[in-house]
């Protein structure tokens, strides 16, 4: 759906028209590189959809804001990958692996500034409001990344703390993209808040689904190694819930599985899945995801614009939520 969506084409064209200086090469080559690894461009599309929802005709006026969101997202990927020591991004070497940490730090910084440069191209009367939303979201994304790193060194993470972390790290940017579109379409503050909340709750639901699919996804369609989170002891919603519920022999089994052991990858995954099933954390995760999705849908429903205007956002949400293929 994404690559052929008319908004995706608009975004891609706008991004391709942006040019970066040739020199200093170590500053701008990594930016060209990360942007060429083309993700699905969902975030910039959300900015366009947020504007269309409230009747914006001229989407050209929304493209700089939508590009700012995409640049910010890619900046955060470059820096997160350094911090997480990630070797690959979208199947290609990460910037810090392709070049080095210093290049990744500085080119990330420059890309963040370029995001603000795009904000400066927005209609002048909208810039102050857009800047406020963008800044708040950007700071929350930093907070989310810090919390995520903090959690790695904590023995117990509460469900609430986890939900707050994924909200900050990944969901507020979706809400922010929609809200910026709404601002550019002169939506009221109440409407801005509803579409922001829709985006945030959709984002949380999406992340919970990602945790679920990491364990139960179809290896042929899920982009990453199924069971990867279990193997690296990542504190997902499934693991957090398991730790919270397990008692007696289940608790013992949970601790055995975390303790450095001689288990094969297959056995560790199989035994953790059995534990998840025993404690019904798989069902719980799905239920929680449904709750956030329902919240999101209710918020979109509550927005006072013609239903036809909402169709493309409902369709996007359905697709992200794997309800349609």
């Amino acid at each position: 759906m994404f690559e052929t969506h008319p908004y995706s084409t608009l975004v891609s064209q706008y991004l391709q028209e942006r040019s970066f200086p040739q020199a200093p090469a170590y500053l701008y080559d990594p930016i060209r590189y990360i942007l060429s690894l083309s993700g699905k461009r969902i975030r910039p599309m959300l900015a366009l959809m947020g504007a269309r929802l409230f009747g914006k005709e001229n989407l050209q006026e929304v493209l700089p804001a939508s590009c700012a969101i995409e640049y910010f997202h890619n900046f955060s990927l470059i820096h997160d990958d350094i911090m997480d020591k990630a070797p690959l991004r979208r199947g290609k070497p990460t910037v810090h692996m392709q070049w080095n940490d210093n290049v990744a730090i500085l080119s990330g910084d420059a890309l963040l500034v370029k995001a603000y440069e795009e904000l400066a191209y927005c209609p002048a009367d909208k810039i102050p409001a857009l800047l406020r939303v963008f800044n708040q979201v950007a700071l929350e994304v930093c907070e989310g990344q810090q919390l995520d790193m903090d959690f790695e060194n904590m023995e117990i993470v509460s469900e609430q703390a986890y939900l707050n972390m994924i909200k900050l790290k990944t969901s507020v940017l979706l809400g922010g993209a929609l809200k910026m579109g709404a601002i550019l379409s002169d939506a009221s503050e109440e409407q801005q808040q509803l579409i922001y909340d829709f985006g945030v709750n959709l984002g949380i639901a999406f992340q919970l689904q990602d945790d679920f699919l990491d364990v139960y996804g179809d290896p042929s369609s899920f982009g990453k190694q199924v069971g990867g989170d279990i193997l690296c002891d990542k504190k997902t919603i499934l693991r957090i819930r398991t730790q919270q519920l397990a008692e007696g022999e289940n608790k013992e089994e949970f601790q055995n599985l975390l303790f450095p052991n001689q288990l094969s990858d297959e056995e560790k995954i199989a035994r953790m899945k059995k534990l998840y099933s025993t404690l019904a954390v798989d069902e719980y995760t799905n239920q929680l995801k449904e709750e956030y999705m329902q919240l999101a849908y209710n918020q979109l429903s509550a927005i006072g614009v013609p239903e036809a205007n909402k169709a493309e956002l409902f369709a996007l949400a359905d697709m992200l939520m794997n309800r349609v293929k």
Copy 2:
């Protein structure tokens, strides 16, 4: 002068009134830390002086922009110190030494966003113009830092390339601070350009002086180890000029001094100074500094405002240029 200057007091008060959240501590503690290492706050003072020059009465309206400049400067220090593996900053451990690289990367990012948050507090009608100047300067500072790192791996750096690098890395921020003040004071574009150029040329003169003082400064008043640049083979204007001029036995001596050798620190410094003297690069550096200073003074002189308005900027320039103690 600085600490007791009324503008310095205004800036310090404003900075002290800003508060950062307590959590996540690893995100905000480093920001509180770097800001507490209080430099001389020259850059935010320049924003105030740029506004006063054009008659701005209400300096409260300039404080957010001046704070944005100071936050940006501190962001760049945090990230540069990671890249340069610097252990100390203003006599205290750098952020990445006090915590670690990841903390320094992310808290630097957050501080950059906080800088833009301050821009959003500026008078709404001025935000678009301020944002454009700030973005351009920010990007140029990144370019300057990249060029500086590139130079470390280059055998020969031209004088022109060096002057361009110091302009980008350190001087445009001084010009930008003044220009932002001018914008907030409704100066014309021509006036904005003149005060920007004044700041840039003053910055270049200051950096050339810094190169000079690193070799010839009074150890009791110069903050760093005298001769430090020679010992670490830093490509300063003195060294670049020497490499360019040296022929015959001077060239041989120059290469001997760079080649890893058994010389004591004192001997290496003494012999390099002798070479500088032979080739008169010390005089050349001073002359070049004077030229940039003269350019700067001419630009300030050309601005069509009452001479009394210029007095404090001339005084600051004189003081930075060591013309008064």
